[in-house]
Amino acid sequence: MENMTNPHLQVCGINKSFGNVRALLDVDFSVRRGEVMALVGDNGAGKSTLMKVLAGAYSYDSGDFLIDGKNVTINSPTDAANQGIQIVYQDLALCDNLDVIDNLSLGHEPTKGGIYKLLPKSLRPLDMLKMTQKAHAAIEKLKVKTLRSTSLEVGVLSGGQKQAIAIARAVSSDSSVVLLDEPTAALGVSQTAQVLDIVSTLKKSGHSVVYISHNLKDIFQVADRITVMRLGEQIAIYETAKITPQELVVAMTSGVETDSQDKKDLADAC
């Protein structure tokens, strides 16, 4: 078992510019195993950009990327996936016309072996048994109680169920880090509760979860620590238990007095 207080995924001194726009300035960020790290900040603070860097969707200009303390190179989403990093985009990226089973395996469907190996990979028969089992395992793991059947088209599911499927897809592959970009932005009260449930489940199963949200209530409910970003900089890291929502709002909107909170103790050393 890894030491629970060492960061599992860590980036140090990340810089990222889009032309003249400096979106990330010397950002340090980390998340431990079995931890929910919230990422907050005003619009345009750089949260999504940092998330996409972590997921390999954006390359960064300078900085270090570490997994369990070891330097790794992440240049593409595939690199990130190989390191166990999965992202759930805000728009979910599901295909409404396919059923739950298909969506969960999309892009890397298991196929039958044996004599079928003579065929090109994309023309081999799908291993529907394995696909179904995989889907059931993923759904079971997330305890999506309201889903009646995995052979339902995703298009007929509720927003919360879809969200659950998108998360299930991220965790069904061998993932250790799950990045969630505003997963509850479009959801109602009960569906939000469902997603927060899933986040807790992930946490309990030892995943590192990064959770972006503008909803402070949700954040105070699920997060262990909170990273605050402002104008491309990481300005503070708090332990959720030791801060009030009011203080957090002040930090997000007007920055932090350097001596107002000893954030260094909470940050994982780079």
Partner: protein
């Protein structure tokens, strides 16, 4: 646990309409209504002879409709299928009748040429990013020109080669077709049984026994009736055997392979497909290659049927009939929804309307107007079911 309690629901009707197997119901119903109508209003409609010619007549449209279904699934359209079919048929006819090439070889060359045509159109769509509507509209015009060039001054070449003619004049011996049918049915039952057992053993969701039995029985009943009707006239024409094999192949590809899933995914949500690592470009280019080859096959069957390749045969209703057949069969013009088997039923709807209206002595004007009505209704159903959110 995802129990199959839902599938045990007492409501049999809901049970049937909720199963994936149900998508053929609307078009099958339409077909039955059309057949009943013409059967009651004309004497000649319900005869083995008429059905034989109806099926044979519908084969070319059905082949093209099955092919275009692949492109429609992807969310694209191909307006050049009839023109490309004409080019394929013309190449085959010239090679056979003017260069004395053996017919099978000429067919292979024609099909490969049209696959290449498809690849080029696919490249223009996938790599350059021109809408398929525009690329294939240009293709429609251009390849009609190419067809005319190949056919020469007369605008037509006669095809008397016995191999080519045999495609639509030869039939399977009756005993052979019964034996094949028996094997197909046994295989289907065996498959359903194995599938059921494997899933039950792993306590996975299983299709209710009622639905499985119903599905197998319906398909069995239809195929026995089909073979019986065809055999009581002349037997099953080779062209229909080709159509059925082609559809079986495409049914496998679209429903049971990663490529098929990619087709549905790209047609359903291109951006999502891209993010899970599906290559939109490859998927698109392959689809256009397929429709190119299928078009040539349709062209060759048409050449066999008419014993000639003429400009008129490939520039008239063929394109719209084929797209209409696919859409009437429930394949969405918006992508991501459809079935190749239903395309055959759609082709039969279009063919039966033509055939029945002929028998009732309707004019071309009537036929055109009825076809338009059917097509618009089919597309309207497609658009409404899309708006309603998937459920039909």
């Amino acid at each position: 646990m995802l129990a199959n309690s839902e599938l045990k629901s007492k409501n049999i009707f809901a049970n049937i309409t909720q199963s994936k197997f149900s998508t053929f119901l609307p078009v099958a119903l339409a077909l039955i209504v059309i057949w009943l109508y013409f059967g009651l209003t004309t004497d000649a409609f319900f005869s083995a002879r008429n059905f034989y010619y109806l099926f044979l007549q519908s084969t070319v449209v059905a082949v093209l409709a099955v092919g275009i279904t692949i492109v429609l699934l992807l969310g694209h359209i191909d307006l050049s299928i009839a023109a490309v079919a004409g080019v394929g048929a013309a190449i085959m006819a010239v090679l056979v009748s003017q260069f004395g090439m053996s017919a099978p070889l000429a067919c292979v060359i024609a099909i490969f040429t049209c696959i290449l045509i498809g690849v080029v159109q696919g490249l223009l769509v996938a790599i350059i990013g021109i809408p398929s509507f525009v690329v294939t509209l240009a293709g429609l015009l251009g390849f009609q020109g190419v067809m005319l060039k190949i056919l020469g001054n007369d605008g037509a070449i006669n095809v008397r080669d016995s191999f080519i003619r045999g495609i639509t004049t030869e039939t399977l011996p009756t005993t052979t077709s019964w034996i094949i049918l028996a094997f197909v049915i046994l295989f289907m039952i065996y498959n359903a049984y194995i599938n059921y057992k494997e899933r039950a053993a792993l306590s996975l969701e299983v299709e209710s026994i009622f639905i499985s039995t119903l599905r197998v029985s319906i398909v069995t009943l239809i195929s026995i009736t089909f073979v019986w009707v065809m055999n009581s006239y002349r037997g099953i024409p080779v062209a229909i055997v080709i159509l059925l094999c082609l559809t079986l192949l495409f049914s496998y590809v679209t429903k049971n392979t990663p490529y098929g899933r990619a087709l549905f995914a790209v047609g359903g949500n291109e951006e999502s497909a891209r993010r899970v690592g599906i290559s939109i470009q490859k998927t698109t280019i392959y689809a256009f290659a397929i429709i190119g080859g299928v078009s040539a096959l349709g062209g060759i069957i048409a050449a066999s049927r008419y014993a000639s390749v003429s400009y008129n045969a490939f520039s008239g209703n063929l394109l719209l009939d084929a797209i209409g057949a696919a859409v009437v069969g429930g394949t969405s013009l918006f992508g991501g929804r459809g079935s190749v088997w239903n395309a055959i039923l759609g082709a039969l709807v279009i063919g039966s309307l033509g055939n029945g209206l002929d028998l009732t002595g309707a004019t071309t004007a009537d036929k055109l107007m009825v076809s338009a009505l059917i097509l618009v209704s089919a597309v309207a159903i497609d658009a409404i079911s899309r708006k309603k959110g998937k459920k039909v």
